[in-house]
C-alpha cells in the first residue's frame, strides 16, 4: 500500500506502528490472493474434515438444546422480568427437529416437571461437550427465572466472577453481566444496576443487550443525559412491563424505549409480602378505606419520609378510595396524593378480608423511577390480603434470669390502656416462659403459648381472637404478638404479647408505638444480655478494651451519680453518637436503680428558643432528663432555669468527636459494611489499606459522615472497597484525603497501636505506621521520644 495513503489516513501514526501496519496489510493481501488462487491447491485432508463434521454435529446439538432451554424459560418467565429473552418459539420447533434427526435425540421423558426438563436439557448440553461456563450460565438463567431476584443476583455474580477469573471471552462476560444487571433491576435497585454497568463500561458498550440495560438503569435512576447517550432508537426485541408503563407515562421517551411489550407468559411474582426493602421504596403504606374514613393500616417509611407522611396524614391528605383512580404517577404530576414528598408513586387496590375495613390501597413511593408494574403491584396486594403461610419456626434462645429485670423495667414504662395486658415471654428450657406481666390481674391464665413464636416470626401483628390455644389470658378476646429479634432477624429473643378484653382489634397506633419502643429496646437488651452472660461466666464485669475507654468513663460517671440525680447532660459534636449513648445509659441506670422509667431524652441542637422551652415544659414531669447538646452553655442554662431549678450541677458526660477516638473507626466501618452485606446479600471486602486511609481522615461530620461515605462506596464498588475508591469518594465529597498524620498526637498514636495489634496482643509497629501514614522509623522515634511516657507501649501488650 502506498505510503501516501496510510499517512493521509493516519497522520498521527508513529513510524514503528506504520511499519507494523504495513506488515498486516501485506498479510491481508496474501490472504486475499490465497482465496483467489484456484490452481496448485492441496485438497483438505480427510481426517480434518471428519473432525470438523464431528465438531459441527456437537455444536448444532448444543445450539438446539440452547433453543429448547430458552423456550422452557420463556414459557415460565414473567413479563416483568428484565432478563433478555432469546429464541422465539419457531426456533425451538426447528431445534426440536434438529434433535429428532440426530442419532441420539435424548429427549426428556414424558411427565417431567418444567424444572426437571430444564435440568435434563442442561445435562444433555454437558453431554454434547458444553463447557462448565456454559453450564454456569444456564444454571444462573434457570435460577433467575425460577428463584427470587436476590438468589438470581447471587447466581449471576458467582458465574460472572468465575468466568472473569478464567479469562472468558467478552461475549460470555457480557451475557453474564446482563443477567446480573437484570437481577438488580428486578430487586428495584436501578442505581446499583447502573453502578455495576459503569464499572464494566467497556463490556457494556460492546454488547447491545447490556448497553440497553445500562441505558434503562440510568433512566430509571434519574440520569437522563447518560440514558440518552446509551439508548438508541433501534427497537428492542421485547420490553419488560415496568419499562413499557414508564414509556406510557413519558411519551417523550417512547422513541428510545421502542419495542413490543413482553408477553405475559409466566405469572407475576407472588408469595413474598412486599416490604420497603424488597421494592427499593422509601414509603410503603396501606390506607384503609371502604365505608370508613381513610386511615393508615400499615406503614413502612425511611426516616426522612416518615416525618413528611405524618405531616400529610395530620393535615388530612389521605384521600378516600374513590379519589384513588390512577395506578401510578411520576414527579411533577399535580394533584396526586403523594404522601412522602415529591416522589414517584404506584397504587394498587388491596382486599383486606380480616381487617373489617374491607378494602384498602397499597401505595408505594420511590425516589427512583422503577415502579412495580400494575400486574406486579396487584399480585403483591393479593399476597397481602391472602392468609399468611406458617413461617419457619425460628430458633429459640435460652432465657437469662438477669434479662427479666430489664423486661420488668420495659413493661413498667409501657404506656398502654388500662384494659390491655402485656406479657413478656422468653424462651426457657420448657419453651416460652412468662417472665413479666403488666396490666390488670388475670382471672385465669392458660399456659403453653404455642404458635406465638411462629406468628412472631412473621413480624406482623396478628389478631388471635378465635385461636384459643394461643390465648394467654382467657378473658382476652384480641391480641398481638410482637417479637424482639436478634441481630440477624432470625432468632426470637423474646415476645411481647398485648391482649385486650375489648372485642375489637387493638388500637393499631398504640400497638405501633409499643413495637417502636420494643425495637429501640433491642440493642439495650443485647448489650445487657452480653454483660450478664459475661458476669455469669467470668465472675466479673465485662472489661472494655482501650478502644472504648471513653465509653467506660461515661458509664462510670453516670453510675456514680446519686440515685436522685435528675438532669444528665450529654455534650459533644453532632453525629458523635450522643443520643445512642444517652439511650444506653438511661436504660442501664433504670436497670441498676430498679426504676420503671428511663426518663426523657431531649435534643437541644437547633431548637428555636420558643420550641426549646415548650419541649422542656413537656419534659418537666419526667423523673430523669437527658439533655443532648453541643457546648453552647447559654441554651443549656436557659433550659435548666425553665425546669424550675437553678442551673446547678447536672452530670455532664462528654462524647468526644470521632477524630479523637480514631480507634473506633475501623470497627465502625467494618460494622457498616457488614450491615450492608446482610441487607444486600453482598460479600464486600475492605482491604487494610482502605481502613488505614479512613482511619487518617478528620471526619468533621462524625459517625453520620462515615456512614454516608460507606454507603456511597458500597454503591460504587460493591465487591471490594479499594483505597483508590475511598480516595475518589472523599474527593467527591470535597474532602481531600489525608495521606499522613504527620503531627499525630500521643492519643492518635495510641489509637493506631491499639487497632493494629497482633492477635497475641503484641504491637505491630509497621502496620501502625501504615495507619498513621508515617514511616516505621519515624513512628519508632516518636515512641522513643514521648509515646512510652504517655502510656503507649511499643512492644508487648
Amino acid at each position: 500500500v502506498g505510503e501516501g495513503l496510510l499517512t493521509w489516513l493516519l497522520p498521527d501514526v508513529s513510524p514503528p506502528e506504520l511499519e507494523r501496519l504495513r506488515k498486516v496489510i501485506t498479510a491481508l493481501r496474501l490472504l486475499r490472493d490465497d482465496a483467489r488462487r484456484q490452481e496448485g491447491r492441496v485438497a483438505s485432508p480427510w481426517p480434518l474434515a471428519a473432525v470438523e463434521l464431528e465438531r459441527l454435529v456437537r455444536d448444532r446439538r448444543r445450539r438446539a438444546i440452547e433453543s429448547l432451554l430458552e423456550a422452557e424459560l420463556v414459557a415460565h418467565s414473567s413479563a416483568d422480568s428484565f432478563l433478555d429473552l432469546g429464541a422465539a418459539q419457531a426456533d425451538s420447533l426447528e431445534a426440536l427437529r434438529e434433535l429428532l434427526e440426530s442419532p441420539s435425540p435424548a429427549l426428556p421423558a414424558a411427565g417431567l416437571s418444567m424444572r426437571e426438563r430444564v435440568e435434563h436439557w442442561i445435562s444433555a448440553g454437558r453431554d454434547a461437550g458444553a463447557s462448565e461456563r456454559w453450564v454456569d450460565y444456564w444454571r444462573a438463567r434457570v435460577r433467575h427465572v425460577f428463584g427470587p431476584p436476590a438468589a438470581a443476583e447471587r447466581g449471576w455474580r458467582r458465574a460472572f466472577l468465575r468466568a472473569r477469573g478464567e479469562a472468558a471471552g467478552a461475549a460470555l462476560l457480557a451475557r453474564l453481566l446482563s443477567g446480573w444487571v437484570a437481577a438488580r433491576l428486578e430487586r428495584y435497585q436501578p442505581l446499583a444496576a447502573c453502578a455495576l454497568c459503569s464499572g464494566e463500561e467497556v463490556l457494556a458498550r460492546r454488547d447491545a443487550g447490556l448497553r440497553r440495560l445500562f441505558g434503562w438503569s440510568a433512566l430509571l435512576s434519574g440520569q437522563a443525559a447518560l440514558a440518552r447517550e446509551l439508548l438508541d432508537s433501534g427497537e428492542a426485541p421485547s420490553v419488560p412491563r415496568p419499562i413499557a408503563e414508564f414509556r406510557e407515562s413519558h411519551p417523550e421517551w417512547s422513541a428510545l424505549l421502542a419495542g413490543p411489550v413482553r408477553l405475559a407468559r409466566g405469572a407475576a411474582q407472588e408469595g413474598h409480602a412486599p416490604s420497603l426493602r424488597s421494592l427499593g421504596a422509601e414509603l410503603l403504606i396501606i390506607v384503609g378505606g371502604g365505608p370508613h374514613a381513610p386511615r393508615v393500616v400499615r406503614m413502612e417509611a425511611t426516616t426522612g419520609v416518615r416525618a413528611a407522611v405524618q405531616r400529610n396524614v395530620r393535615a388530612g391528605r389521605l384521600l378516600p378510595s374513590e379519589a384513588r383512580l390512577s395506578s401510578r404517577a411520576y414527579r411533577g404530576k399535580p394533584g396526586f396524593d403523594c404522601l412522602g414528598g415529591e416522589r414517584v408513586v404506584a397504587v394498587a387496590r388491596v382486599a383486606l378480608p380480616g381487617c373489617r375495613l374491607g378494602e384498602a390501597w397499597l401505595q408505594v413511593e420511590c425516589a427512583h423511577a422503577l415502579l412495580p408494574s400494575r400486574a406486579q403491584l396487584e399480585a403483591l396486594a393479593r399476597t397481602l390480603s391472602a392468609p399468611r403461610p406458617a413461617g419457619e419456626r425460628p430458633e429459640a434462645v435460652a432465657a437469662r434470669a438477669a434479662a427479666s429485670a430489664l423486661a420488668q423495667g420495659f413493661l413498667a414504662g409501657l404506656d398502654v390502656p388500662r384494659e390491655v395486658r402485656a406479657t413478656w415471654l422468653q424462651p426457657g428450657e420448657g419453651g416460652l416462659e412468662s417472665m413479666a406481666e403488666s396490666g390488670p390481674a388475670p382471672a385465669s391464665t392458660t399456659s403453653g403459648p404455642r404458635g406465638i413464636v411462629a406468628r412472631a416470626a412473621n413480624g406482623e401483628p396478628a389478631r388471635h381472637a378465635g385461636e384459643p390455644q394461643e390465648v394467654l389470658w382467657t378473658e382476652a378476646s384480641a391480641g398481638v404478638a410482637l417479637p424482639l429479634l436478634a441481630r440477624g432477624g432470625r432468632r426470637v429473643l423474646a415476645v411481647l404479647v398485648l391482649e385486650s378484653r375489648r372485642k375489637e382489634v387493638l388500637d393499631r397506633i398504640s400497638v405501633e408505638a409499643v413495637a417502636r419502643r420494643l425495637s429501640e429496646h433491642e440493642r439495650c437488651w443485647w448489650w445487657a444480655a452480653v454483660r450478664d452472660e459475661h458476669r455469669r461466666q467470668v465472675g466479673r464485669e465485662l472489661h472494655i478494651d482501650d478502644r472504648a475507654r471513653w465509653w467506660t468513663c461515661a458509664e462510670e460517671r453516670a453510675l456514680a451519680a446519686p440515685e436522685g440525680q435528675r438532669v444528665f447532660l450529654v455534650t459533644g459534636p453532632r453525629g458523635s453518637g450522643r443520643c445512642t449513648l444517652a439511650r444506653a445509659l438511661a436504660f442501664r441506670l433504670a436497670g441498676v436503680h430498679g426504676q420503671s422509667s428511663r426518663g426523657h431524652i431531649l435534643r437541644l441542637d437547633g431548637l428555636e428558643p420558643a420550641r426549646l422551652l415548650r419541649s422542656v415544659e413537656e419534659a418537666a414531669d419526667s423523673s430523669r432528663l437527658w439533655l443532648i447538646a453541643t457546648r453552647r452553655r447559654g441554651e443549656l442554662e436557659r433550659a435548666l432555669e425553665r425546669l424550675g431549678r437553678p442551673p446547678g450541677d447536672p452530670v455532664e458526660i462528654v462524647v468526644p468527636p470521632l477524630s479523637e477516638r480514631r480507634a473506633e473507626i475501623p470497627g465502625l466501618v467494618r460494622g457498616l459494611v457488614e450491615e450492608a452485606q446482610r441487607r444486600q446479600r453482598l460479600r464486600t471486602s475492605i482491604p487494610d489499606e482502605s481502613l488505614a486511609l479512613l482511619f487518617r481522615q478528620r471526619w468533621p461530620g462524625n459517625v453520620g459522615e462515615v456512614r454516608a461515605l460507606v454507603e456511597d462506596l458500597l454503591v460504587g464498588a460493591p465487591l471490594e472497597i479499594g483505597a483508590s475508591c475511598v480516595r475518589a469518594a472523599l474527593e467527591a465529597r470535597g474532602h481531600p484525603p489525608c495521606e499522613s498524620l504527620g503531627a499525630a498526637s500521643v492519643d492518635e498514636i495510641a489509637a493506631a497501636m491499639a487497632v493494629t495489634r497482633h492477635r497475641n496482643g503484641n504491637a505491630n509497629l509497621a502496620r501502625a505506621a501504615r495507619y498513621l501514614g508515617l514511616a516505621a522509623e519515624t513512628l519508632s522515634a516518636r515512641l522513643r521520644q514521648g509515646g512510652r511516657a504517655a502510656g503507649v507501649s511499643g512492644a508487648g501488650s
Binding site: L10, L21, V24, I25, L31, R32, A35, R41, S44
Partner: protein, 193 residues
C-alpha cells in the same frame, strides 16, 4: 471489483449427496466436486470479507455433508448448495478468531511477517462485522491500491466521508498491531529469537 467465479454443477452431482454424513463427506472432500472452494472465494470477494478460505471450506463441507440427507430435491441443487455456503460462512463469521484464520494460514502468513496470528484473526473477525461500505472501500483502496479520488467519484461520496470510513475500517488492525505485553507478545518475541 468483484470477480464472480462461481462454478456450475455438473449433471449427476446430486448422487453425491446420498447416504450418511460421513459417506457424503468422503465424496465431496476429494477434488471438491461441488466447487465449494470457488463459491466461498466468490462470496468472500463479493462481500469484501477477510477470512481463511481453506478453514471455511472445511466447515462448509461438513455442513453440506450433515444436511445433505435433508435435501429432497427442492430447491434446485445449485441453489441449495449456495444457501449452505452462505449459512456456513455466517457460522464462520460468528465464530472465534481461530476459525476466521485457521492454523495453516496463520503459519503461512503470520510467521514470516512476525505477526501474532490470534490477534490478526481477531482483527479480521472485527473487520468482517463492519458495514459493507467500509469493507469495500478498504478492499479497493488498501488491498487493491485504487485511487481515492477515483473511488470517491465512482461511489458518489465525498472524499471526507471516504476518509472517515477508511479510518474506521483500519481501526481493528491498528488495535491488533498496538504494542502490548503478555503471553502472545512473548510468543512473538520467542519466534523472533
Amino acid at each position: 471489483m468483484s470477480r464472480d467465479t462461481r462454478p456450475t454443477l455438473a449433471p449427476g452431482t446430486a448422487a453425491l449427496l446420498h447416504g450418511s454424513p460421513s459417506a457424503v463427506l468422503a465424496r465431496i472432500v476429494p477434488n471438491d466436486p461441488l466447487g465449494l472452494r470457488a463459491r466461498i472465494a466468490a462470496e468472500c470477494e463479493g462481500r469484501a470479507l477477510l477470512f481463511d478460505v481453506e478453514r471455511a471450506l472445511l466447515h462448509v463441507q461438513a455442513l453440506v455433508a450433515l444436511l445433505a440427507g435433508r435435501w429432497r430435491g427442492e430447491p434446485a441443487l445449485e441453489e441449495w448448495v449456495t444457501e449452505r455456503v452462505k449459512e456456513g460462512l455466517e457460522d464462520v463469521l460468528q465464530s472465534e478468531a481461530s476459525v476466521v484464520l485457521g492454523a495453516g494460514a496463520a503459519a503461512r502468513l503470520c510467521a514470516p511477517l512476525e505477526l501474532d496470528a490470534a490477534r490478526l484473526g481477531g482483527a479480521c473477525s472485527n473487520f468482517n462485522r463492519l458495514p459493507e461500505g467500509a469493507r469495500r472501500a478498504f478492499f479497493a483502496l488498501v488491498l487493491e491500491g485504487a485511487s481515492p479520488d477515483g473511488w470517491a467519484r465512482r461511489s458518489g461520496r465525498p472524499l471526507g466521508e471516504l476518509l472517515r470510513v477508511l479510518r474506521r475500517a483500519l481501526e481493528p488492525f491498528r488495535a491488533a498491531t498496538s504494542v502490548r505485553t503478555g503471553p502472545a507478545a512473548a510468543q512473538v518475541a520467542e519466534r523472533r529469537a
